[in-house]
Amino acid sequence: MSTTTNPTDVASHERREFIRATSAKSYTRRAWTSRLYLGALSVALLIAFVPLASILQNVVGHGIHYITWHYLTTPQQYPSITNPDNVGGIGNALAGTAVVDLGAVLISIPVALLLAMAMFEFTHRWVSAVRNAMETFIGLPSIVFGVFTYVSLVQTTHQFHAYFGSLALCFIMIPVMTINALAALRSVPDTLVEAGLSLGSRPSRVMLHVVIPAAKSRIFTGIFLAFSRAVGETAPILFVVGASDLVRFNPNAQATTLPSLMWNYLIGSYPSERASCWGIALVLMAVVLFFNVLSRVFIAFSNKS
């Protein structure tokens, strides 16, 4: 019985031959198409690096010789026709940025943490509504927050304050921090929470001593991420912080920040001002990158632990 060839085997043998032949016939064409595809992808990757290289080269190349202690600590000067190169330093803007951003962080962190904890604890339809609102806020144009802050604070008080800028930046920072903190809290294993509760701890105690310590590094990631985004924001604070050419750390006074000084220099009329933009750009990039790298370090740290 088994010595005769099974008719189905013949068919499958012929099928295999047919498939092999067809595949071989088209193989050269398909291989070249594939090479074309992969070549196009490599070109896309190379193109993606061109602007990055150009920006870094220009910012570092034009900005590096500005970076002196004197430039960083003395306030800005005003160029004039008789003295067109008199731009001074950026000390006032550096101080203003420190005040505005520190204020924003001090307001945002407790609010974002409280919100995240509330959204973690409660299951109410408001929770997903707020989450949606937060995600929408992340995508909104930042100039809208500037307009809102101007309308609701500057227009009603007829004054400019550094802390108005802090409040405007909160619109940028709180959503990013809250979404990240909520994700961090939810990433803590349920077993840990349940173990804490089973020991008779109150939910608040479990939150403070179990959930938050376990989620700590991911919460910090969100904070640094939000901060690195807010430092470079120009549009929300441009209209509300006023201007100051004194190096001072007073949230109640007017302030000039790094981005707003850069904006003024960019639309200014002296070449020395536009050249000074590169110095400010380098400082700004260094600050932003520092906090971004810090957030990545915390991500790596939280993945390890």
Binding site: Y37, L45, V130, E135, F148, Y150, M262, W278, L289
Partner: protein, 291 residues
């Protein structure tokens, strides 16, 4: 619970304040704000059609530039770069996402503008003999430069999200196709791209939202709405966008004119709000697909 209610109230208050303050602006500008040309804030011409069109065209052409490059770069990172280097390469590209927008503004106005105006645009005009859409004086500043700067800003968003979606495609699909004799190009074209479609569309919509609202990077590279260029009808036209014009005109507010800018902010908010809403629902649908 009360904290959450508070945020809800803040959101409603936010919309309420913007809407309320824009009312005098609507009555000052009238319906002209939607169809009249020649926006001139100081001169009292509130025809915002060139701003609306400028917003839409710069965003559209930025997407045309950024999406193929961004998705291509994401595919290249996943399929061509050794696994050990993938994180480093994608982090480098995501570096572009954290560059402050004012730095893009400086780069665009001080570097790219002279490059385009002195070399690239005259060269293109020579090649096509100045026929439409490449007619008119090449100034460097304008909607072309705006689209390029925007493209550079949104490309890392497209790359980062596309990469996440591509990595999430089940290994079995790729391996199945390869074991049937498909080439890598066929796998990308027939397996990866179709199964990533909704995710990539989500990334693009998110990038669109970012591009529509970009303010500071564009304000100094677009050249402004002028008599010579009342509408963005050619490649080298100067112009402006809704967001950029709000920033540029805010210093010159007198009387009720400021409320017209709040009306612009509201128009922008509506456009962006609609786009982000769709982006989020698309991304969420895609996440469900693979989890």
């Amino acid at each position: 619970m009360s904290a959450i209610t508070l945020v809800g109230l803040v959101v409603f208050y936010f919309l309420f304040v913007l809407a309320k303050n824009s009312i005098p602006g609507w009555s000052l500008a009238g319906w002209r704000i939607f169809y009249a040309t020649g926006w001139n804030f100081g001169g009292g011409n509130y025809g915002a059609l060139p701003l609306i069109l400028g917003t839409l065209t710069t965003t559209f052409f930025a997407l045309c530039l950024a999406v193929p490059v961004g998705v291509g770069a994401a595919l290249a990172i996943v399929f061509l770069i050794p696994r050990r280097l993938q994180l480093a390469v994608s982090s480098l590209i995501e570096l572009l996402a954290v560059v402050p927008s004012i730095v893009y503004g400086v780069w665009g106005a001080l570097v790219m503008a002279s490059l385009l105006g002195n070399h690239v645009e005259p060269w293109i005009q020579n090649v096509v003999h100045g026929s439409w859409p490449f007619n008119g004086a090449p100034t460097g500043y304008g909607l072309t430069l705006g689209a390029i700067v925007l493209a550079v800003m949104i490309m890392p968003i497209v790359t980062a999200i596309s990469r996440d979606v591509i990595v999430a495609v089940p290994k079995e699909l790729t391996e199945g196709a390869l074991s049937l004799g498909a080439t890598r190009g066929q796998v990308i074209r027939r397996v990866i791209l179709p199964s990533c479609k909704t995710g990539i569309v989500g990334a693009v919509t998110l990038a669109t939202g970012r591009a529509l609202g970009e303010t500071i990077a564009l304000a100094t590279v677009l050249g402004g709405v002028t008599q010579a260029s009342p509408l963005p009808d050619r490649a080298f036209a100067t112009g402006s966008t809704l967001a950029a014009e709000i920033a540029l005109d805010f210093g010159a507010i007198t009387g009720k004119a400021g409320n017209v800018l709040y009306a612009l902010a509201l128009i922008l908010l509506v456009i962006v709000g609609v786009v982000t809403y769709f982006a989020r629902s698309i991304i969420r649908r895609n996440q469900k697909q693979f989890s």
